[in-house]
Every structure is written in structure tokens, then in C-alpha cells.
């Protein structure tokens, strides 16, 4: 349904051109849940915005590659086609629910605007649909709450409203950009639960972008790991967690609580590389505990490590397995 083909996104900044997305290829099938994981600054948000051509241009530019939705190029769409795509084919939930709702309008007005954006209907019908959507996302007493302003809602409730808004035109793909980052841990679980429920009821494909592997562990059919504007590993949740084939993913796993399984937390050393002048070899080489001389010169492509499991690393699967053993036992 959605295909991203060797996509490059450049951002023009005062310090130079940032290669925020540097040759990314993947696809999402109807009804699938895909997680994109990476540190902040890895380009995952820019990538997500590109799927709807939402990055402000300038500074953003798309020098190479393309995005196809049902075989139509998104990047070549005119304004009218883009408008049809946004909201009705692909909808998006943003990172910060506190600032993503317009503070001066009532929730109802903003929801109805989303409902009317692609199919005009009588006011009363739109209003009823808005109430129904609010009920679907678990807002208590939606008939009254529709008259409230955003600041009268808690963060979790606002995120529910934003999800309701995204569902207004029953999109085929829902992009959630760090949907739980700004929320309390207990609320995070509720929102994730809600997303799961929506998947069942609306049958939409979901793409979740997060820096937290824990968020996508139970939710995603497939996980893509992003580093310095590139995909460095992709596979099922089991592949990523138990058959890790790329040192970066492995470091990421060791840096988060509980998933690694009782081990001491190990932060990743160093900083992500500059995306203005990326290193010549593998972009993770400066921080990689297993880097060799070859890693400085060769930038590895994604290679198959198993059925549907790919990783970008010079180490073979078995070489990496034994190196990992060495670190864990020492």
C-alpha cells in the first residue's frame, strides 16, 4: 500500500545541509503495524512527515527517491491531490498533545473540521459523528466534552482527541509520531492499548515512530531501526529482540530497562554523527564497541539475515553472536 523508495530528505540549515533521511526503502501493507525506532535526531520524524509531504519546504527538499501511496507518487502530487491524501488516506498523530490542538477553538469545532475536510455533510450529522469518535477513543461524557477547550483536558485525553481527529475520515494508514513520549507512564499504556483497539476496529495500517523499543515491542508486526538517516536493521519483533544482528540495535536494547532482561543498563557512548558531514564508513562506527578498521571505510548496505530480517553490518550473524557473548559474560 505504501512504498518508500530510496528516499532522501535534505534540510537546509544555517550550518549546512542536513541529510536527515539518507536513502531509506521500505513498505507498509494494508492493516499492518510497523514501528520505526531510533534516537532523537535520527531522522525518523522527518521521514514520517515526508510520507504526507508535510515537511515545510524550505528548509526541506527531496533530492532523490520517492514515496508511493497505492502506486501514486506522493512527492509529485499537486496541492489538491495532497489535500485528498492528507487526512483521508494517511492521517497523523503528533508528538506533543499539549501543543497539537489549537488552543483558541473548542474540541468539537476542531473535530468537525477534520470530519468535514473530505466529505461534506449536514452540521448535525458531523456533530454526531464527532461525539461517536470521542466515545470510540474513550472520552467520557463526549456530548458535554465536545464543548470544551483543549486546555481543559489532560495530556492523555488530548492525545485521545487527536487520535479521534485522525480517525475522522477513516484513513488507511495512521502515522503516530512519538504518540506517548509526552505522557505519563500509566497513560502511555492506555494510549497504546487504544491504538491496538483501533487497529482491530478500523482495520487501518499503523506506523508508530518512537525512540523507545518498549513501546513497539508488543504492538508492531515489524520493526525498523533507524540511525543517522538510514535504516540499519529491520525485522519482526522477535528478530529485533532475540536475533539482533546490528550493534546499534543491540546497544539500544541494552540502554532500555526491563526488555534486556535483568541486566545492568548500559548507555550508548558518544553522540550520533553529524548529518551534515557523515563519516565515510559505517555511521555507527565511532560508537560501535566491535568496530574494525574496515568499518571506517565501508558503509554496509542492508543484507538479509533470515526470512524478513535484514541488517546493515559487516559482521556476519554468527560473528556478532560470539562477540555479544564475550561482552555479556565479562
Amino acid at each position: 500500500m505504501l512504498q518508500v523508495n530510496n528516499l532522501h530528505v535534505h534540510l537546509d540549515t544555517p550550518d549546512g545541509t542536513v541529510k536527515a533521511v539518507d536513502g531509506v526503502t521500505f513498505s507498509i501493507e494494508a492493516g499492518e503495524t510497523v514501528g520505526i525506532v531510533g534516537e532523537s535526531g535520527s531522522g525518523k520524524s522527518v521521514l514520517a512527515h515526508s510520507l504526507m509531504k508535510l515537511n515545510p519546504e524550505p528548509p526541506a527538499a527531496y533530492p532523490e527517491g520517492d514515496v508511493y501511496f497505492n502506486d501514486r507518487s506522493v512527492l509529485k502530487m499537486n496541492k489538491k491531490e495532497l489535500r485528498k491524501l492528507r487526512g483521508s488516506d494517511i492521517a497523523m498523530i503528533f508528538q506533543d498533545p499539549m501543543s497539537s490542538l489549537n488552543p483558541v477553538f473548542k474540541i468539537g469545532k476542531q473535530l468537525i473540521e477534520a470530519i468535514q475536510a473530505h466529505r461534506k455533510r449536514p452540521k448535525k450529522e458531523a456533530r454526531e459523528k464527532a461525539i461517536e469518535l470521542l466515545r470510540d477513543v474513550g472520552i467520557p461524557d463526549p456530548e458535554a466534552r465536545i464543548e470544551s477547550y483543549p486546555h481543559q483536558f489532560s495530556g492523555g485525553m488530548r492525545q485521545r482527541v487527536l487520535i479521534a481527529m485522525a480517525l475522522a475520515s477513516e484513513p488507511k494508514l495512521l502515522i503516530a509520531d512519538e504518540p506517548t513520549t509526552a505522557l505519563d507512564v500509566t497513560i502511555q499504556a492506555q494510549v497504546l492499548e487504544l491504538l491496538k483497539g483501533i487497529q482491530k476496529r478500523y482495520g487501518a495500517a499503523i506506523m508508530i515512530i518512537t525512540h523507545d523499543l518498549g513501546v513497539v515491542a508488543h504492538l508492531a508486526d515489524r520493526i525498523l531501526v533507524m540511525y543517522a538517516g538510514r535504516l540499519v536493521e529491520s525485522g519482526s519483533a522477535e528478530d529485533i529482540f532475540y536475533r539482533t544482528a546490528m550493534p546499534y540495535t543491540w546497544s539500544l536494547l541494552r540502554s532500555i530497562p526491563s526488555v534486556g532482561g535483568g541486566e545492568r543498563l548500559v548507555p550508548i557512548d558518544g553522540q550520533p554523527p553529524s548529518l551534515i558531514d557523515p563519516p565515510a564508513g559505517c555511521s555507527f562506527e565511532p560508537r560501535c564497541p566491535f568496530a574494525t578498521e574496515a568499518c571506517r571505510h565501508v558503509d554496509p548496505d542492508l543484507k538479509e539475515r533470515g526470512s524478513g530480517h535484514e541488517a546493515a553490518c559487516l559482521l556476519s550473524f554468527s560473528e556478532f553472536e560470539s562477540l555479544k557473548e564475550g561482552v555479556v559474560s565479562s
Binding site: M52, L54, P56, P58, K79, L82, R83, K84, L85, R86, G87, S88, A91, M92, F94, Q95, D96, S99, S100, L101, N102, P103, V104, F105, E113, A114, A117, H118, Y149, H151, Q152, L162, M165, A166, A168, S169
Partner: protein, 314 residues
Amino acid sequence: MLTYIIRRLLSVIPVMFVVSIIVFMIVHLTPGNPAFLILGEDSSPEAIADLEEQLGLNEPLYVQFFTWLSQVVTGDLGTSVYSEQAVTDLIFANFGPTFSLMALSMILLLSIAIPTAIAIVALRKTVLDPIFTSVSLFGVSIPDFWLAILLVLGFGVALPVFPVAGYIPLAEGFGGWLYHLLLPSFVLAIVEVGIIARMLRDSMLESVNQDYTKTARAKGIRERDVLVGHVFPNALIPTTTVLGATVAGLLGGTVIIETLFTIPGIGQLLIDSIHRRDYPVVQGVVLFIAAIYVLVNLLVDLLYTFLDPRIRYD
């Protein structure tokens, strides 16, 4: 919200008290004897003594102030030494033209500034934006009276389309009223247009990449609707805070514009009274304008709280 409104209403009292002291002092700090100044150099000592008695000038200053203030509070601003009419009557007789002029310039101002700001933000990636910034700076650098002179030259002399003097009350017909006021209110408005349009543009540009704007774009609504429906209403709130200063600019400007276009408003009354050394009228008009300005600022503040639901429902 209610406590805020009450607090804001009460804050008017100390401000107006200070204002009345300043207005009082303006006349009484005059070097030399006010009675002497009013009557002129070759007046007899008896006449001066009489006037001093009449104006209560031989009392101590603070006694004079509180006597004056207690009269002001009851609406008595004294009597004109020139026409011997009550100052309040003079002010009300002259307020109509001034109010008409201000109201019309405010309408012109907003109906030019708002579409300009929206258009500039819509075309922010083109050269129009830097051009606008320069032009708006140019606007605040032009003396309003000089612009009025140029317009009189253009539309009164070279291409006589508009009358360059006089005033017709609204009661005598809307057409004549508007026809006579159009040029002066345009001059008054255009000087402030740059400030308001610039402020709106700046606030809109701040709002244009906010998260809620992204949400609106992601819904798939037209960019025009995003700008007019989401960006503009948010930019309007900070812009209302400068509306008070705009009214001050208009109030100051009317004094000159009324003189230039011979509109019989309180600005002209003030200038005439200054030339006639009619101090009770000068005092009364200045106090009246300051009171209007304090009232406008109060209304602007209340409007601000009303426009922003985050404050309204607090």
C-alpha cells in the same frame, strides 16, 4: 477570571489619580502667574487679583488640587475663560467629529492591516515579505501631518476629488459625513497600519509552524483555511495588546489632523485653547483624552481575556 476583571477595574483608580495630579501640575507649574498669562502682559493688577480670586489661585497648591479634583469627580471641569462656557459642554460639543474620525480610521486601519498581514504570510516565501517589512518601517517614519499635506496636494489640489477641509455631522447625511472624513481618517490610519500589520505578520509567522498548524494541515484542509482559520485567530490575541498603543497614536494624531483639515473636534479645541491661553479648557481636554485612553486600555485588556479561552475559563 472575575477576580481578574475586578482587579483590573480597580487599577484604574490609582492611574486616574496620578493622571489628575499631572494634569493639575501642568498648568500650575507654569512659570509666572497663570492669571497674568491668561490676561496678557498689559493687564491691570486689579484684573489679575480678581482672576486669581476667581480661580482660587491664592490658596495653597494642595488645597487648590483637592478643590479642583472634587469638582472634576462631579463632572465639573470649570469654565472657559475665553467663551465662558462650561468646559464639559465644550468637550461634548466637539467630541462627535473626533469620535467619528477615530472610529472611521480604526475601521480603515483594521480593514487594511488584516488582509495585508494574511496575504504577506501566505506569500512569505516570496520577495513580497522583505518588501513589506521595509515598507512598514517606512510607514512609521512618515510624519502624519506631512503625509496629510501630500494627500491634500494630491487629492485636493492636483486631482480635486476629496474636500480638504470641513466636517458634516453624521445626522446631516452619511454620504457627506463619509466624504469629508475619508481623507483625514485615511491619513490617521495609514501611519498605524504598518505597526499593526507588522505585529500581525510576526505573530502569524510564529504560529505558522506550530504543532496545531501541522495538525490542521494534516487534516487535509486548504492552506488558505489553515491561515485564516487557525493561524490568524491565534495571532489576533497578542496583536490586541498593541491596539491600546494604536489608539494613543490615533488620539495624538487627531490633534494635528483636525487642525489641518479644520475638523471641529476636541483636537482643534485644544490647539485653539492653547493659542488663547484658555487653561481651564486645556486642562479639561487633556484630562478627558487621558481618561478615554485609560478606558480604551481597560477595554483592550478585557477583550484580551475574552479572546483567549485559556484565560476566560480560568
